[in-house]
Amino acid sequence: MDFLQPRSWAEALEAKAAHPGAVPIAGGTDVMVELNFDKHRPEALLDLNRVDDLAQWWTEDGRVRLGAGVSYSRVIDELGDTLPGLAMASRTVGSPQIRNRGTVGGNLGAASPAGDAHPALLAAEASVEVASTRGTRSIPIAEFYTGVKRNALEPDELVAAIWVTPPSGPQQFSKIGTRNAMVISVAAFGLALHPDRRTVGTGIGSAAPTPRRAPDAESFLAGELDWDGRRELADSVAREFGERVRAAASPIDDVRGTAAYRLHSLSVMARRALAWAWHDYQRAA
């Protein structure tokens, strides 16, 4: 196995172009597990840790450009207020050591349906900046996930950054695991209220072949919420929202949980997350 170690983003793109089978590695919290369990044997590893720009974030035109190599710890410490949903999701990733190493870009590269960042990114309607020696393009997050552990990257492309608009309203993230820390998700749910455009964003994790939104639940809720008056949320609306989120999922039974439990827990998480988000919205008035 070759070990490629570019020192700049340009070198990284050239290396990826020359070695399309090379697997990018940043924190290694996912890639190394796959290697250690002998699940994959890539022709090369493309180490992105020496590409300094990748581990930076900044705000540009009112949006956050989060470099693919920014660790979860830094998202929590530096972006907790700016990107609350993603920060909440980041807190649920692994252990402190894993959060110090693991990156949002890595989550996107692996594109596991269980990746913790995905529901928050879906709810926030993020977009993914991908690049190759051929140029740069932007992929809406909902189009990024194409199958189980597959994404929209071409073989010569790398994830450069994630663009997220700081929210105009409250965000929530909830994740089910069968212990109280350091656990892979059995089901996860991200919610973002967008009062500026009176829409709702959702994201479902671990309950379908890919992370996905719940569009029907989003449009239902956007129409039911009293955006201006901020009146109390009817319990029936919260429950219906939960049911519609549940209906958007298509989970399987596996060792981590049953499909029935995943569906049930999604409806509960969606209902509760909505109650918390709406409460925050009311208080913000």
Binding site: T92, S174, K175, I176, T178, R179, N180, S265, V268
Partner: protein, 765 residues
């Protein structure tokens, strides 16, 4: 004439009852400690194992050609290359070191490879072509007893059936009758240090094996049989052990590494990775249990009936002894006038099961404690009261008719945990980490209901049913650089529990010498017995004490002769011989000079006896240890997630030789028991392990385990050295049932299976 110096008892610190730091403690917390996986020789090569993908299959042929032809490969070996009898096993030698014709579980070793590099060895192993004829498999414990079930071994699927019949016929009825069925899943020891060791060929045609294990001499016996070598040519030394919990009592890579080393004449290292480790050791037996208790209107027990089936998997390992424990202690620490117990251990094509902390009692406790709660509810008394009413007391006979001839504080332990302050009811905004789900943010209090549960247990200490359970200690006293130094040499395995510290403390106490060197654990001294059954402080501690006494007697006699004074009244303290009046008679340095005094003692506890095969009556066990737990849980009843808020305990330890180590054992044991109640399960479907990784085999984290209140009683057992009682296992037994009971109380659900999954609580299986 000068005034004689005087000596006080405080001259030597780190005696029994103190908590000196463990000598390996700093190394372990700083990452400097060398575990067996760190063993290294510059000229060593690496071994790898090819394992069966099938739970049950006949091997038609094995083609090693491509593997042998791989660059860097030194040799590939199969059953044909085992020079001795190709059978190993703790109680029955029923397991081939390498499969010979049949594989009986997924993961059974079929062939081994030695190569220059571990990766080369692993890749070469994949090139071995094995032609399997897949056979029907039996993969459920009760199904194995069906006469039509596929046979795992030619003599049938029953490993052991233990019967206990006491007090005559079970009555047809009683004023109150409660019954239940209960299932316990397969728990793993989940030790962090994977199976590993280094075998070095010796010039005399023998082999030196450095390995992480629990019992050097039982390993040696099995290796000798497989290699057809005498014991003096198979020399074992304990390497750094990264946890054991029963999972290192059986062999793993031992014979394989020795075979490869002897065939290649090179040192061979083998290290399993995490996935292979799940196939490399035995697990806790899954159990299927049916219980029925009859009682008076006031809850006083009239009879207890139980049928317990332990799934032993493909090879016997210690299934027979697990049946012995699960049967003889299967009704818990209660008084039963009439008893009817049937306990079975069976072969299946599931992964082999054997020793794990709590050893048969863990499974049974979930059933008898759930049933005692049921009885309390039916009778209308509280759950402490029902246990105190029926709890065993000193002077009682247990269900095998054995007299409980030292403390049996069932009622008192329960009272203590009941009287401990309960955690306050939550108020205001709660930290997510205190709620079910933690920072995963699934509740801010919605759906959360608190429950409290209790459990009590008793567990035997040491080996039972007539086993010749002894330990050997060699203690040497000499003067080094002008200072007295004691060297203690036993083969008793230090697996993290702190035995080396205990050995030092005993030597300091008995010989009054500060500096105690613990010799490497190896087979150059007699057997120390197994580091299991909560027995080493008792048995090896007893052996070290006895060896120290022999050394002390020799020293004092010599001092008495030199000083022309009676030996009575002399004692050793602070490196000096001191008279009863406190006068220093002689310094050890002067008395010994260049000479050493060394004594080796083989020490045995009181003998136990076999139980009657028809009635199960007999003095099966040497000692019983008691503990009780109270668990407080918050359950999110809508999502089925659990946060254990408190897990408090009281335990009688006889005498705390090292109070800090006792606390560590109780905390760790309690966490392991809680893990089984909540999350720890190897999921086996049709004989295939579905979750061989720490991603999906979950063990409690620091956010799952609450801080504990621990009350330690010290009711000395007059029959045991210093009055000690085994400590390590009882907490693993009573903690889980207390947690399960607390979840039942919070949810109102029956919950007759552990681990309790969110699906059980939410009805979404």
């Amino acid at each position: 004439m000068s005034t004689p110096a005087t000596q006080t008892d405080t001259a030597t610190t780190g005696r029994i009852g103190d908590s000196p730091l463990r000598p390996d403690g700093v190394q372990k917390v700083t990452g400097e400690f060398a575990y067996s996986s760190d063993l290294w020789l510059d000229d060593m090569i690496w071994g790898a194992t090819l394992r069966s993908p099938h739970p049950h299959a006949r091997i038609r042929s094995i083609d090693i050609g491509a593997a042998m032809a791989t660059a860097g490969v030194h040799t590939v070996l199969t059953a044909d290359d085992v020079p001795g009898r190709n059978r190993v096993g703790l109680e029955h030698d029923d397991q081939p070191a390498l499969a010979d014709g049949i594989v009986r579980y997924q993961g059974e070793p079929v062939a081994i490879v030695a190569a220059d590099h571990p990766e080369v060895a692993r890749q070469a192993a994949k090139k071995i072509v094995v032609d399997y004829e897949v056979l029907p498999a039996v993969t459920e414990g009760r199904a194995a007893l069906d006469p039509t079930a596929p046979l795992v071994h030619p003599d049938g699927n029953l490993v052991r059936h233990l019967r206990i019949r006491k007090g005559g016929t079970v009555p047809d009825s009683a004023p109150v009758v409660v019954s239940l069925d209960f299932e316990v899943g397969m728990q793993d020891q989940a030790f962090l240090g994977p199976e590993s060791g280094l075998a070095v060929p010796a010039e005399d045609g023998g082999v030196e094996l450095y390995v992480a294990t629990q019992w050097l001499h039982v390993d040696q016996r099995q290796i000798c049989q497989a290699l057809a070598l005498p014991p003096e040519k198979v020399r074992l030394t304990l390497a750094g052990v990264g946890g054991a919990f029963g999972g290192r009592e059986d062999l793993s890579m031992h014979v394989h590494a020795c075979l490869l080393a002897m065939h290649t004449n090179r040192p061979v290292k083998m290290v399993y990775n995490r996935e292979e480790s799940f196939f490399g050791h035995v697990h806790r037996h899954p159990a299927s249990m049916r219980y029925e208790f009859g009682a008076d209107e006031d809850g006083r027990l009239r009879y207890g009936k139980a049928e317990i089936v332990f799934d032993g998997g493909a090879y016997a390992s210690s299934t027979g002894a697990v049946v012995g424990n699960g049967g003889t202690m299967g009704l818990g620490p209660y008084r039963f006038p009439v008893v009817h117990v049937d306990c079975f251990g069976v072969y299946t094509n599931n992964p082999p099961c054997g020793a794990m902390r709590g050893f048969g009692c863990v499974q049974a406790a979930f059933a008898h404690e759930a049933l005692m709660d049921e009885l309390a509810d039916r009778v209308g008394v509280d759950r402490i009261a029902i246990r105190q009413l029926n709890g065993m007391r000193e002077g009682d006979e247990n269900i095998t008719g054995q007299l409980i001839d030292s403390a049996a504080p069932v009622g008192e332990l329960l009272q203590i945990v009941n009287d401990l302050p309960l955690p306050p009811a939550p108020t205001g905004t709660r930290d997510l980490r205190d709620l079910p789900g933690g920072v995963a943010n699934t509740t801010h209090g919605e759906g959360v209901v608190r429950g409290v549960g209790y459990a009590v247990t008793y567990k035997n200490v040491g080996f039972s049913e007539g086993f010749d359970d002894y330990s050997t200690a060699r203690v040497r006293l000499e003067i080094t650089a002008g200072e007295p130094v004691v060297t203690v040499h036993t083969a008793a395995a230090e697996v993290g529990q702190g035995l080396i510290t205990v050995e030092q403390q005993i030597c300091r106490t008995e010989l009054g010498v500060e500096r105690v060197v613990v010799h490497a654990k190896d087979t150059q001294v007699g057997s120390g017995g197994s580091t299991s059954a909560s027995r080493q402080t008792y048995v090896t501690g007893g052996a070290v004490k006895a060896a120290c006494e022999a050394v002390r007697t020799a020293i004092l006699e010599r001092a008495a002769a030199a000083a022309r004074t009676p030996v009575a009244g002399l004692r050793l303290d602070g490196g000096k011989i001191v008279s009863s009046s406190g006068e220093v008679v002689a310094a050890l340095a002067d008395l010994l000079g260049a000479e050493a005094i060394e004594e080796t003692v083989e020490w045995r506890h009181r003998p136990t006896s076999r139980i009657d095969p028809e009635t199960g009556q007999g003095d099966a066990h040497v000692q019983y240890a008691f503990s009780a737990h109270r668990a407080v849980v918050d359950v999110d009843i809508e999502l089925g997630l659990v946060k254990v808020v408190a897990l408090d305990t009281a335990q009688d330890v006889g005498k705390a030789i090292n109070p800090a180590a006792v606390m560590g054992q109780i905390q760790g044991g309690s966490a392991q028991g809680m893990g089984l109640a909540l999350m720890e399960e190897i999921i086996v479907q049709d004989g295939i392990i579905r979750n061989p990784s720490f991603t999906d085999y979950l063990i409690p984290t620091i956010l799952d385990m609450p801080p504990m209140k621990i009350e330690v009683l010290e009711y000395a057992d007059p029959h045991a050295p210093y009055g000690v009682r085994g400590v390590g296992e009882p907490p693993t037994i009573s903690s889980g049932p207390a947690v399960a009971a607390a979840i039942r109380q919070a949810t109102g659900l029956a919950l007759r299976r552990v681990p309790v999954r969110p699906e059980h609580i939410t009805g979404t299986l």
